[in-house]
Symmetry: C2
Subunit: 192 residues, 2 copies
C-alpha cells in the first residue's frame, strides 16, 4: 500500500483512540492493531509518539477548518453561523456524553502531562476563538467580539464536561436552548 494511505489510516485510528482513551493511555500496539499493521511498520511512518500527536492535531485542525467553511457557505448571517457552532453540541451529543469534547479533553490532558503538544492543542481553541470573534464583529460587536467568543466557547466547554458526567439527563439540550436564546437576545448592532 502507498505510504500516504497507511499514514492516513494511522492518524485516523490514533485520532479516535486518543479521543476515546486519551493520548497517554493509548499505546502504539493498540493503534497498530486497529490499523491492522505491525508495530515495526508503525515506526516506518512515525518515529516518535509525539509525531503522531502532531499529525492528529493537524488532522483535527483541518477537519474543523472544513467544517467551518461549510458553515460559511450554508449559513447566511454570522448569527446563524454562531448558532451552528452552538449546535455542534447537539450534532455530537452521543460522543460528547461518552467521551467529552475532543478539543477540551485533549488540551486538559496535555496540560496536565506538561506535554509540549499543549501549545499545538491550544491552537484548536484558537481556531474557534478567532472564528467566533470574526462572527461577532460581523454582527456589529466590534469592541467585545473576543469576549463574546470566549464566553460562548467557555459555555460550550462547561456543557460538554457536565454532559459527560451526567449523560442521562436533558441537561445538554436545555443548555443549548439557553445559549441560542442568549445569542438571539444579543443586539444586532454592537456598542462601538
Amino acid at each position: 500500500m502507498a505510504a500516504s494511505e497507511t499514514r492516513q489510516s494511522i492518524v485516523a485510528a490514533a485520532d479516535d483512540l486518543f479521543y476515546e482513551n486519551g493520548f497517554d493511555h493509548t499505546s502504539f500496539a493498540q493503534v497498530a492493531e486497529v490499523v491492522g499493521i505491525s508495530r515495526g511498520n508503525f515506526y516506518y511512518h512515525f518515529k516518535t509518539k509525539d509525531e503522531i500527536l502532531d499529525a492528529v492535531i493537524e488532522k483535527r485542525l483541518e477537519d474543523r477548518r472544513t467544517m467551518m467553511s461549510q458553515w460559511s457557505s450554508s449559513q447566511e448571517t454570522p448569527r446563524q453561523r454562531v448558532a451552528q457552532f452552538i449546535r455542534i453540541l447537539l450534532t455530537n451529543e452521543a460522543k460528547i456524553k461518552t467521551y467529552g469534547c475532543p478539543i477540551g479533553t485533549l488540551f486538559t490532558e496535555l496540560s496536565k502531562l506538561d506535554h509540549p503538544g499543549e501549545d499545538s492543542a491550544r491552537r484548536l481553541f484558537d481556531l474557534f476563538r478567532i472564528w467566533l470573534k470574526r462572527q461577532f464583529e460581523l454582527m456589529g460587536h466590534t469592541r467585545d467580539a473576543d469576549d463574546l467568543g470566549m464566553h460562548i466557547l467557555a459555555r460550550s466547554q462547561g456543557v460538554a464536561t457536565l454532559a459527560n458526567a451526567y449523560p442521562n439527563e436533558p441537561f445538554l439540550k436545555n443548555e443549548v436552548q439557553q445559549m441560542l436564546a442568549w445569542l438571539e437576545a444579543l443586539e444586532a448592532s454592537g456598542n462601538t
Copy 2:
C-alpha cells in the same frame, strides 16, 4: 510514626500530585518520594492504586464539605452563598490557571480511562450540584433549582478550562463578574 499520620501524608501528597500531573501519570514512586517513605512502606498503607484514589476522592469530598459549611456560617443569604461558590474561581485563580479545576479534570481523566473511580469522582460534582440546588430552592426557585445549579456548575467548569488554556488574560475575572451579575439579576422569588 503512627499509621494514621503516614496515611494522611500519603493522601495529601497523592492529592497534590493527582491534581498537578494526573492520576494515571502519577506513580507510586513519585508519591513515596514526596512523602519521604519507601515504596515498600507504601504498600503497608495502601494495597492498590485504586485504594489511594478512593482515599484522595474521600479527602476532596471532606475538604469541600467543610468549605461549604464555612460558607453557611459566614454568609447570611443563599444568594451570598452561591456568590461565594462562584468566587472560588478567584480564590483558586492561580492553581486553576495552571492545573484546571481539581474536580473537573479528575472526572474527565477517569472517564477517559474507563476507570471504576469515575462514579466516585462524579460524587464530587453531586456534592456541589445538590448544595447549589438547595440554595436556589431557598431563593424561591423551587421548580428549576436543579437546572440553575447545573447551569452555574457548567459555567464554572467552562471558565476553568479556558482559563487553563489562556492563563495570561483577564478572561477569568470577566466571566466571574458576569456570573455574579447573572446571579443578581435572578428574581428573588421563583416561578412556582
